[in-house]
């Protein structure tokens, strides 16, 4: 079982996974900073950081290109941070791969809708961007903060879903010249494409079909590149020097979610190397209540109530930690105490990084 410190030295890619609201982005930044402090060239790729986190790293704002974080004088490593802009990444990809067709694709309404608004695009694009950055060779370690999502694992499914979306057998339904080439008996008796088209025409109207056909026609040009990259991203995600860090908090519901994520990651062949339980209040005990004076004055009663509440919380959280430890037997489980001061400067990220590596 490798400690978090060891992971930061041996990995090329650290993927932070977890549901929303557990400090995943801050944890990603702290891990990246920690590795940079130990001499590695690190990039942290975040999806939607709070402005305060960007400020903590000394960056007025984060953009779609890596920006250097000032680590102070004498630093041997380096840290870059960037925030994903899904729309921008998608447009860039189209411009790069579609050549003269780029304008037509970028102007298609279905493309615009898909690249801007619809669920899943962010996931596709995060992996797309990861691929470029990972391949660039500029960084020893990339720390990837995955998008918050109801189903956090949609993310790993994104390359498969992208590839499927542009699967030739699906695209051919919408592309007349390919369709006529189908001549097997089965295809003539039951052509799923024809059924789908008819159905979509009923549901969406003919204009929708026309636009969809145009979209697929245009996307055919970039499809090969999409699929190729999708496969290679999967290879990166399965690589031996890729490690998964599960971020949660010791709260019962978050632990349930974390346990579910842990098991599903394992089913996907991705084992969790470390679990981080943030914002813990585990170090308060009932016994401490007996140490306060036996007094009946209102202030003492108030304090007793206050401490009793904190103990309630601590007991529940200890139970949560224990449950996760049971499930994640092969991962190191790190419990990070709740800091009362928010992360507003690099020093606090350093402090969090230290707590993470203990």
């Amino acid at each position: 079982m490798a400690s978090v410190s060891e992971l930061l030295f041996s990995s090329r890619l650290v993927v932070c996974v977890g549901t929303g609201g557990v400090g995943k982005t801050t944890t990603s930044a702290a891990l990246a900073l920690r590795a940079a402090r130990h001499g590695r060239r690190v990039l942290v790729l975040t999806i939607d950081p709070a402005r305060r986190l960007a400020n903590a790293m000394g960056l007025a704002s984060l953009g779609n290109t890596p920006q250097a974080v000032d680590l102070g004088a004498g630093a041997s490593g380096s840290l870059h941070a960037m925030m994903l802009d899904a729309k921008q990444t998608f447009d860039d990809l189209i411009r790069r791969t579609a050549g003269s067709e780029a304008g037509a694709i970028l102007g298609n309404r279905i493309y615009q809708l898909m690249s801007e608004r619809l669920t899943g695009t962010q996931e596709y694009m995060a992996l797309e961007r990861l691929f470029d950055l990972y391949q660039a060779g500029t960084w020893d370690l990339v720390v990837l903060d995955t998008p918050p999502s109801t189903n956090a694992l949609d993310f790993f499914d994104a390359p498969r879903r992208t590839a499927q979306m542009f699967d030739e057998s699906v695209m051919r339904w919408f592309l007349p010249e390919v369709r006529t080439a189908d001549s097997s008996l089965w295809q003539r008796v039951f052509n799923p494409g024809a059924v789908v088209l008819k159905l979509l025409a009923v549901v969406g109207g003919d204009a929708f079909i026309a636009e969809l056909s145009q979209f697929f026609e245009a996307m055919r040009i970039v499809r090969a590149s999409f699929q190729e990259r999708g496969h290679r991203v999967q290879e990166i995600l399965r690589a031996r020097d890729t490690h998964y860090v599960l971020v949660a908090s010791p709260d019962a519901r978050r632990v349930d979610e974390a346990m579910g994520l842990h098991d599903r990651l394992r089913e996907m062949g991705k084992s969790v190397s470390a679990c981080v339980l943030n914002r813990a209040h585990t170090e308060f005990f009932t016994e401490d209540l007996a140490l306060m004076p036996e007094s009946l004055d209102p202030e003492t009663a108030l304090l007793r109530e206050l401490y009793a509440r904190v103990v309630c919380l601590a007991e529940r959280e200890r139970a949560g930690v224990a449950r996760l430890q049971q499930v994640a037997r092969h991962a190191s489980v790190v419990v990070v105490p709740a800091f009362t001061a928010p992360v507003v400067a690099l020093a606090q990220l350093d402090r969090l990084g230290e707590a993470l590596s203990q």
């Binding site: 557990v22 809708l113 695009t121 189903n151 499927q164 549901v203 109207g205 529940r316």
Partner: protein, 307 residues
Amino acid sequence: MLGNDVIDLRETKLLLVTGKGGVGKSVVTAAFALRAAQAGRRVLVCEMDEQPAMAALFGSRAEVAFEPKRIHERIDACNVRGMAAMQAFLYRFVPSRRATDLLLKNRVARVFFESAPGVMESVMLDRVATHIESGAYDLVVVDMPATGHAYTLLRLPASMAAMVSVGQLAAHMKALATVLGDRRRSSLVLVTLPEELPVQETLEFEAKVRAGVDTPVSTIVINGLRTMTVPDDEPAWVADLAPGPRERWREALALARHWSHEDQRGLAKLEAEAKAGLVTIPWIFRRDDDFSLVGAVTEALARWTVY
């Protein structure tokens, strides 16, 4: 403004609940459902998650899937996500059930429906609309995805209308947009914690919804308010304790002070900047199981709601 905000749910047919992840959205959803059920209404909770959690919150062992199942007195739950939902959706539009079944058996077709953006979202919204129209329930409560995806969902009827102008789906999306835009019958509830980041995101989301969606945020539920009275000075006896307990007592006091301070600040910011009504739910420290938590939140909610 806080204080005079009562959530009037007497005419509400559809209650949409969303919030940033980890703010207790599902528990608040459950509490709204329980409160309405206690008032004698027939309630359906729609979940949109691959791993539904509502039954567990009610201490029920029911396997919640596509068809509504009883999870508590007068409360049913269903999950509107997945292939069963897709099938029901297609049945509505395609005259031949056999053709639909054949289609869904086809691997390639399934792949298309799973991966084409917006399709599953349309299916989920359509199912919610079906339940509202069925008349089987007095109130439909939707445990929406977290705010990012919830916005996509709320926008969907408008997005689809822009993309699909004729056909049955267009008509259906228009009908749905009408329900969502009816402020008397639909309410959008935003759940938040009083902490700085969730408060900031809540205000941003409220503004985004106001600009981009017909359904305004009607109520912001401030969940887990940890207001407690903490003495300004450390009690004298703390200094006499052994180092271990002394540190823990000091930390507990600092923590309580920090909580109170942070929550009051978050509350003040919401009072100053939010347009929607505000209600508060205290942090529930003592809870034996999930259902006792839902019960305590329901009790706290009761003073803010009229059914």
